[in-house]
Symmetry: C2
Subunit: 204 residues, 2 copies
Amino acid sequence: MSVKHAVLTLLDEQPLHGYGLKAEFERRTGGTWPLNVGQVYTTLQRLDRDGLVRAHNPAGDGSVVYEITPAGHSTVQEWWGGVVDRQAPTRDELTIKVALAITTPGVDVGQILRRQRTASMQVLQALNRARTQVGEDLAWSLVLDRLSFDAQAEAQWLDHVEATLRRQGPGAPPAAPATPRPDSAARTGGFDDLSATTAPGGRR
Amino acid sequence: MSVKHAVLTLLDEQPLHGYGLKAEFERRTGGTWPLNVGQVYTTLQRLDRDGLVRAHNPAGDGSVVYEITPAGHSTVQEWWGGVVDRQAPTRDELTIKVALAITTPGVDVGQILRRQRTASMQVLQALNRARTQVGEDLAWSLVLDRLSFDAQAEAQWLDHVEATLRRQGPGAPPAAPATPRPDSAARTGGFDDLSATTAPGGRR
DNA sequence: CGACACATGTAACACGTTACATGATTTG
DNA sequence: CAAATCATGTAACGTGTTACATGTGTCG
């Protein structure tokens, strides 16, 4: 939904053509996520199909400019007004990998954790290096900060897992045996949906 | 790639049928990410198509068991041996939204940040509540920790953005043209700790 | 001239996801 | 018996992503 909403938001400010959207997106997000031009056009086609934008051809030549429609404008307003949903977190490959690793015999969990931690640190280094080359651009700087926060959280978690495993059974991988005939009392379904809870977090 | 690799990994331990894979996945990952059964079957079809698994039918009835192939086993080994790539981070909707918001006139960035922060805190609460109900399951507990780390990093970043904006131009948001107002003096990253490991980097 | 950025698209694929149809088996 | 769970699948869609074809304009 990222590209879709970004394109729509940019068109909510001013009409643009495909190539300009690519350039504008990369400029506004600091060039951290290069956007394939082809994807802009496919996205525009789908937005057009859904009635959120409209292709416009000022001159008779090949130049095509896209404009947002009222429906598209509403969508943008809703996007600004709402929050990005984090209730149902996306399956994360690393987390799943570690979760499976600690319950799989014959897998060197420690090695996985250490290697991944090295990768996290390399990302952090690259981010710090990039930051020195940016400096002035506010949006770009904040994007880099975000990636940095994430990489740090990842590294911390990897350390946390390693420490936890050392504290618990390093030589005895417990974890309920995998019965070929599943007879366990499985209870599943994400965590609470927290409908009516208000934030006590004491923000600011 | 998460579901694909997870299914493959489970089959690398023992042959299973579709429904069993769903159950086993949710058991091993703590049920945080419920897995639609239909998705297991589509994934199995694609893995079969790619020669990584093979459908097997012990009895003549409708029961179908999937086994991993040598090629599938190799894939799993490579997965364990490699690292999850974080070099080219996935476009994150929240980050893009904030990046666009601070360069879009007429958008209340502060409101976006505060609302999103509330959402992050609610997620944290739900995670804490869920953790009290788990306790024993190691894998599940670590998965919850991961989600918790992420939510905290997100909240911290939101605070960081708000503080940065307050420090910089709260009444003078740099707008459309690529002229990001040269004033940023305070570079308070706070995360310059990196140990060992040299990296080539080469992003972009 | 030739290289390169600008510009517009199409085709095809990967992965995730849901909705639906269908039947067997278990169990209250 | 009826309901729930187990079990197998298909169809269809959404989003992201890349590879390719094609052409214009500029500039060294």
